[in-house]
Amino acid sequence: MRRIFAVALGILTAIGGFVDIGDLVTNAIVGSRFGLGLAWVVLVGVVGICVYAQMSGRVAAVSGRATFEIIRERLGPRAGLANLGASFLINLLTVTAEIGGVALSLQLATSVDPLLWVPVAAFGVWIVIWRARFKLLENVTGLLGLTLIVFAVALFMLSPDWGSLAGQALQPGPPADEQMSTYWFYAIALFGAAMTPYEVFFFSSGAIEEKWTEKDLATSRANVLVGFPLGGVLSIAIAGCAAVVLLPASIDVTSLSQVVLPVAEAGGKLALSFAIVGILAATFGAALETTLSSGYTLAQYFGWSWGKFRRPAKAARFHLAMIICIFVAMAILATGVDPILVTEYSVVFSAVALPLTYLPILIIANDREYMGDKVNGRAMNLIGSVYLVVILVAAIAAIPLLIVTGAGS
């Protein structure tokens, strides 16, 4: 019973934890411009994050080594540092976007200027990281984030023309008024939103925080293989809602208030309150995860003592680094930059940085000195190799597409 509960909890938190500001915004934008024409990318991204998280979770559980320790060990200090720089900056952008997302969702509930909410959100993130136990932090935000299921419910309540939605999904390609390059630009953004590296840093370091062993591998596999795909379904539902309500009114999504309009349309105030709580929890949870991830990456590269299972004074540089990150994120938001825009950039750059973080995991998952007889099987290596190519292509194409499309405008 206890075990079933643990698995169920893990799956639920994985669903809630999958969706963050990046998924919310990118899916809503894509839905409002392309309908479900890019739903296949979510599918590709979800399988990718399953493969990636499953491998790094297994490496962490079997060898006790977290992802960034392995990146440095296998790629050496130079490539490792380039990787750290890129991952850390993207992480910082994501922290900024998530804290901004918390402020924006509080604005939806209060209509108070988000700039005033930023310090509150930032302090909230810090105090939870400083004081709360890892398990608690993971479970509460994950479960509250589950209220985002309201987007799936709303999609049903809108009773859309399922045939035309399916048509959009099954015949991928840009609509007449959009360019091919814009279509592919958003494909990469969506891929980056689904496969953000911070999720993997957090997942593998979390395995060590919770002292996983080989016995926990089955649980971890269930979390990943059930939780992430359901999170992907949620992402498609967000895009679907935008496709049904916003696309016909030619509303290109540029703000969070537009993302929740379809939910209010379908289910009124009750549904809207679920959506706002869900967005708040998902962004707050992701703000915690990304802040922790910036601490994890730095500490693991430099060999500092890290982890929430230690008291802060025993992982001093780790905590100091996170405090600095939160301050920098606040400073960026204080310039008045739109968090939605920061989000759009962070998901694209996530796709750019992905190959260097993915490659070492694929290598170590095959290294018997680390993994004993728990190395990748043939099937896993086949799909892992396919994704290495997919990730490389997406990373190489991202920047040129960003320039050609003017960031999708």
Binding site: R65, R133, Y301, G303
Partner: protein
Amino acid sequence: MNDPHRPAGRVLDAHLHILDRQVLDRDGVPVTTVDDLELDGIEPGAPIEPDAPPPTVAAILTGPDLATRIFGGRPPESRHIRIPWKLVSEVGTTIRLGITGYILDATWTERWVSEHIIARIPGGRHDPE
């Protein structure tokens, strides 16, 4: 003793198995990463006598060695932070030391940040709730 065909002990490659790995202390607390290794018994520019004893690993280097390994150059002799190799108890996927890391030079920044900043913030010395 050093015929590679008949190894007398465990054989490993310095770059592959030691460089850039985590150094943990007796209690499993991270101390640093292996930024470089110091080898004793190699005299650059001098011919090696056929019967000279082989070089040995003297110390793990950390601190400024990371920067010089990445950007080139060499830190002054006094700036090296050394962890003598004789403190190492085990070489696996990590390098384990046989002592507590808290007293080593390699952890002085951790101690400084801990004492001067983190421990002064309320709750810094307590376990999370």
